[in-house]
């Protein structure tokens, strides 16, 4: 049996959304799926048992961090990351390249790999495609990523094409170096910046390789939302129907809904756990910043409808008092936020299976934006897959629109920051 099988269980008759079942060595994974990020072999303050309770089927680990701590020797001796961290279900690892480029200012890329200075002794080091695969083989994740040539999404000109071409050359080196193809599946990464023909060329080149799924990279790094959705749409338009598609680093609720409509199956983002550390809880209408004084005497749970262990036991009032003060608040809010993300994905799967996904999208957007106008890019993206959102209830007030735009810009900037600060 191959280490990854994927089958489409249901398809939306209107949009490109699909529900699937991915079977990995350590777990079955129902898609579309959100993968919480457990950077250093642990998910911020949550026990593996609690994640299983939340029905989390797959976690993400970061190769760069794990390669430094605990290090490859220790992971090998432990028998891989699953055993080391006591997590019986599936894991996906990134290549380490992206974090290196974003965390280490001095990292430089050439044809051999990513050059960087060791954060420990400042010696010159090199992460090659082969090296990244060796590390990921030692970690033993069910799904691993190729090392790709990462450029800022805002980069233009020949560098973007060079990065795309190099990414294709590197995937062959990764496939060549991959020593555990019977246990682990290597995903190539679609690059090509914000350029439609480059993205197309990249997809068709990668499709010639023997791989079991694809990642879409180089997005969610500060580009406009308009460019963002179009690139996702282009990639899913060309990727094969029978293999899973993973959009890297996307995790805001509205983005998840739009990208599922565009045909993406897998997501990851540090946002739900990161925002928990600052006392923020995710709800359909966005997020509650529980540190705000208005929650001091609010004796309701974060969300009446949520069945997570936090909402069962704790009030907004109590969480207001302990958020950012007692470290247990970080665990409590992370649990709720992950429960929120997983529930959102579950609702989308159900809606797709009942072929009610377009209605789900409309209901979600109405709840999410309430009286705020729905951003134009969301309308356009959904219209591109035949989901027409109803007109905003009231005539858009100019100031309001301006404010929303500013907020959205802020949100994009936050995502960029997330990417850099993944830890």
């Amino acid at each position: 049996i191959p280490p990854l099988t994927y089958k489409v269980v249901a398809e939306c008759s209107v949009s490109k959304a699909r529900a699937g079942l991915m079977t990995l060595r350590h777990s079955e994974v129902n898609t579309p799926v959100f993968m919480p990020v457990g950077t250093q072999g642990t998910l911020k303050g949550i026990l593996p048992d609690q994640l299983i309770e939340l029905n989390c089927q797959i976690l993400l680990g970061n190769t760069y961090h794990l390669g430094l701590r605990p290090g490859i020797d220790t992971l090998k001796k432990a028998g891989g990351l699953h055993k080391f961290m006591g997590w019986p279900r599936a894991i996906l690892t990134d290549s380490g390249g992206f974090q290196m480029v974003s965390l280490l200012q001095l990292a430089e890329i050439d044809e051999h790999g990513v050059n960087f200075r060791s954060p420990f002794d400042n010696s010159q080091c090199m992460l090659t495609p082969e090296h990244s695969i060796q590390i990921q083989n030692a970690i033993g994740a069910d799904i691993m990523m190729q090392l790709d040539d990462v450029v800022k999404t805002t980069t233009t000109g020949p560098r973007v094409e060079e990065a795309m071409e190099r990414t294709i050359r590197w995937v062959d080196r990764c496939i060549e170096a991959h020593a555990r193809d019977d246990d682990q599946s290597l995903f190539p990464i679609v690059q090509g910046g914000l350029d439609v023909p480059l993205r197309q060329r990249c997809v068709s080149a990668l499709m010639e390789r023997q791989v079991r799924g694809f990642a879409v990279g180089g997005l969610s790094g500060g580009e406009s939302k308009h460019d963002f959705w179009r690139m996702v749409d282009v990639c899913t338009g060309y990727l094969p129907r029978d293999k899973p598609r993973y959009l890297m680093g996307v995790g805001f609720a509205a983005d998840l809904v739009v990208c599922v409509a565009l045909g993406i199956d897998m997501f990851d983002c540090v946002f739900p756990t990161r925002t928990a550390r600052f006392g923020c809880a995710l709800v359909d209408s966005g997020q509650l910043n529980l540190k705000q004084p208005k929650y001091k005497l609010d004796m309701e749970p974060i969300d009446q409808k949520c069945h997570c262990s936090t909402c069962k036991r704790y009030t907004r009032s109590y969480l207001h008092h302990i958020a950012t003060n007692e470290s247990v608040s970080c665990s409590l809010l992370s649990i709720h936020n992950i429960a929120y993300q997983l529930r959102l994905m579950g609702s989308m799967r159900q809606a797709i299976q009942r072929d009610e996904f377009p209605q789900f999208v409309k209901d979600f957007m109405a709840k999410h934006f309430k009286t705020d106008p729905i951003p134009a890019w969301i309308r356009e993206a959904l219209a591109a897959v035949n989901i027409q959102l109803p007109a905003d209830p009231e005539k858009e007030d100019q100031d309001l629109e301006k404010k929303t735009k500013a907020e959205k810009r802020q949100e994009t900037e936050n995502v960029a920051e997330e990417q850099v600060a993944t830890s």
Binding site: T39, Q40, G41, T42, L43, K44, G45, I46, L47, P48, D49, Q50, H65, L68, R69, P70, D73, T74, K77, A78, F84, M85, G86, Q99, L103, L104, Q105, P119, F120, R277, K296, L297, M299, S309, T310, R313, Y314, T315, S317, Y318, H320, H321, I322, T324, N325, E326, S327, V328, C330, S331, L332, I335, A421, T422, S423
Partner: protein, 418 residues
């Protein structure tokens, strides 16, 4: 609150039954209170505590110094009977006791104005008048609360400071006794006076002068200033003064002594007749990356009191923190993993340590009660003292230079590396 002595043994101390609420469970002493911070068991959500530490009803030890900012919310929560203080912090079904000071952290000294008791909170020093204190108790509605007292003394305190703590406590308590009818909770009479027998006697005398039924038990304070200071107390100084106090107290009332006493000190205090302790020692160990590994089961092997999680020798040690431990941490995780979590400053590290340390400490207390019942406390004391080695083991906890603080909570390796 009802307390009944089951047995008193010269060498093993006393065994008792405590019923805090008529509708509540009957608890057995020597009893272990569950120390909390800001109302929560440190690092543990209520479901982790109940799934992996204890399913039985516990007595939660709340402290005003970590919860004072919740007074307004609790007043509203408790309107018309309400659901109670334990419910508010997500731990329904557990009993509770409200103390002034956090036994986990060193209480700063000073600030003892004539009519005001300082309360050291996260936001700095607050000033408690007896009036304000009783208002807060009325808002919190705990099952049990302590009398307002000045406990700012330790072995080094000058005679004058000790005398002042007794006088000020007496003054505060005049008000508390007069107004205790305004709250339904059971009062604990504070006994202070440092290491001075005369001062202690005076403090006890004031409590015993009160009409019968004024209070339900005693809280003995002023022997240390909380935090790690309690782990290093000199028994030869502590035990005589405790003995001096205990023999003057009414026998049919429980005696509570908060603080992170070393396990050996706990056993010695139990022999003196102290009934109730707390889990702040388990907290202090976890905070400083130590897994408790002392043995209280009779065997012939040598044991060490702690496993130091920061020690590089366990980097690739894939054995459980403690062999033969049935807690989640020891069943599912390894020393190497705990070391990794320490190195990366991950929040799961103290969570897993706390699960083990609380589990270990609660089991320790179960063993204590069995030993007291069988009049075998001296044997247990001997084992805990030497751990089957040739000399007495050291239970004091040193400050780890790298502790999980709020400042480091959110930063992983990345921040340190760049």
């Amino acid at each position: 609150m009802k307390f009944a002595i089951e047995s008193i043994k010269k060498n093993s101390g006393r065994l008792g039954k405590l019923r805090i609420k008529d509708s509540g469970p009957e608890l057995r002493t020597p009893l272990l209170l569950q120390t909390t911070k800001g109302g929560s068991i440190p690092w543990l959500s209520s479901d982790v505590f109940e799934s992996h530490v204890s399913r039985k009803p516990q007595v939660l030890q709340f402290t005003l110094s970590t919860m004072d900012q919740m007074a307004e919310a609790l007043a509203q929560w408790n309107i018309g009977g309400g659901r109670g203080l334990s419910d508010y912090v997500g731990l329904p079904g557990h009993l509770n006791i409200l103390l002034l000071r956090d036994p986990c952290e060193t209480t700063p000294s000073g600030g003892n104005d004539r009519d005001i008791q300082p309360l050291f909170t996260r936001r700095g020093k607050e000033s408690l008048t007896p009036e304000r204190y009783m208002e807060m108790v009325a808002s919190f509605k705990p099952d049990i609360y302590q009398g307002l007292c000045d406990a700012d003394t330790n072995l080094e305190s000058a005679k004058k400071r000790v005398q002042k703590s007794v006088d000020r406590t007496e003054k505060f308590m005049h008000y508390v006794y007069e107004n205790r009818a305004n709250v339904e909770s059971t009062l604990l009479a504070p006994i202070v006076g440092g290491y001075n027998t005369f001062a202690r006697t005076q403090s006890i005398k004031h409590a015993r002068e009160q009409p019968a039924g004024s209070y339900g038990g005693y809280i003995l304070e002023g022997f240390h200033t909380n935090g790690l200071s309690a782990t290093t107390l000199d028994s030869s100084k502590l035990l005589p003064i405790v003995e001096h106090c205990v023999k003057q107290l009414e026998e049919d009332k429980p005696r509570i002594m908060p603080g992170a006493f070393a396990p050996l000190t706990i056993l010695e205090l139990i022999r003196q007749g102290v009934d109730v302790f707390d889990t702040s020692y388990a907290y202090c160990a976890s905070m400083n990356f130590k897994a408790l590994t002392f043995s209280f089961v009779q065997d012939t092997k040598e044991h060490v009191p702690f496993l130091d999680i920061t020690d590089d020798v366990i980097k690739e040690d894939f054995s459980p923190p403690m062999n033969n431990c049935s807690c989640l941490t020891c069943q599912k995780h390894t020393r190497a993993y705990l070391h990794h979590l320490y190195k990366t400053n991950e929040l799961l590290g103290p969570i897993l340590l706390m699960v083990h340390n609380l589990h270990h400490y609660i089991t320790f207390f179960e063993t204590i009660r069995e030993s007291v019942a069988k009049d075998k406390l001296p044997e247990l004391t001997e084992l805990v003292k030497n751990q089957n080695t040739k000399s007495q083991v050291d239970y004091s906890i040193a400050v780890n230079t790298k502790v999980i603080t709020k400042a480091t909570m959110g930063k992983g390796f990345a921040a340190a590396a760049v």
